[in-house]
Symmetry: C2
Subunit: 213 residues, 2 copies
């Protein structure tokens, strides 16, 4: 029988466990929180970043705001309350991955300063890297890959960020990728320049030259 | 500017990406779903398993039903509906980890056949390993590490599994650990005998001799 003294709940994912996991993965776990308007290129860059990191031997996980709405966050809508809850869960899951040593790549409109502050608070300041995927509303609406802006203008989608609700640009993002004026290749290169020194054990002392514009 | 043709949402975590991640981790990702009564030793074994795997170079993540109630599942209670939603989210998160190549160790009472069937359905049959952490109600209540059985008997905790609601034992678990009659060391050894051949690349052909009793 399990002796009672040993049957005490040990906190899983303590600091030490995380460091051991980062050590076997040979990487620092961080959350790359990519915010920006619908159509700015967040999902594209998230998936590309995941693949680019994988090809360099880093382990990351994409948590896409749209994708998790079909799974973890099924049943949540786009009201202010539901958006808040959607974001809260995404932040909690990103934190679980980071505690496991895995780099979390979050792709999430997360339109308000307040919502991103909450995410940062859940995840922890040291692990939270805010990346502003910046394309103007005009550019995003002209692209309108998913036809969402058209529907929003026609009143078929309520509470659409950029149309009915403001996108509050980050005041001091850790990085800013100007996807309105760069190709995917240029964007991913700039993103990698930002991310790699922050996750690599060996590059720690040679921080990227990249600064948000 | 991101050309429109490249800005198509690529499914993150496709089968190929998962296999590449498993390859760099040198492991098969699976969900070890540990069910059983409160006090049977699930959390203890989950944490020990996580550490034992880590010491062998495997990457796993504990998802503890009790722990996530303070984070991801904050606000959910113990009504039938809330338990269902709690379990659903845990299964979705376990699936995210498996898609990232990471072994998920779930510690969760998950008392009904129906609830575990739902978890299996979300996660996928091939990735779902049901492990019954089996100690009798008498044993668990005699231990009562957290004092929960006492409170449940006094009517201070409603809907307590084993007291007010039945625990439906798995009919055909993939493994069964009889923690009512074994030490922690014996239990973890048996658990490892079950788990290691199923996650290891090299041991794939030499499946464990262990059979559930």
């Amino acid at each position: 029988m399990l002796p009672e003294t040993q049957n005490i709940s040990i906190p899983a994912n303590g600091r030490e466990t995380r460091l051991s996991k980062e050590a076997i993965l040979n990487q620092h776990a961080r959350v790359i929180w990519m915010c920006g308007l619908s159509g700015a290129g967040k999902s594209t860059l998230a998936t590309r970043l995941d693949n680019e990191l994988l090809s360099r031997g880093y382990l990351s996980q994409v948590i896409d705001g749209d994708v998790v709405r079909g799974g973890l966050n099924k049943g949540l809508g786009f009201s202010s309350e539901d958006r808040h809850e959607n974001l809260r869960r995404v932040a909690e899951v990103a934190k679980l991955f980071v505690n496991c040593g895995v780099i979390s790549i979050v792709s999430f409109i997360s339109p308000t300063l307040h919502s991103r502050a909450m995410a940062k608070n859940i995840i922890g300041e040291q692990d939270f890297l805010e990346v502003y995927i910046n394309a103007s509303l005009d550019v995003c609406e002209a692209r309108d890959i998913k036809g969402l802006y058209k529907q929003a203008r026609e009143g078929k989608i309520p509470d659409f960020t950029g149309i009915h609700q403001p996108f509050e640009a980050p005041e001091h993002p850790d990085a800013e990728i100007a996807t309105g004026s760069m190709t995917v290749e240029e964007s991913i290169r700039q993103l990698l320049d930002f991310v790699l020194p922050r996750i690599s054990f060996k590059d720690q002392h040679e921080q990227s030259q990249y600064k948000p514009s």
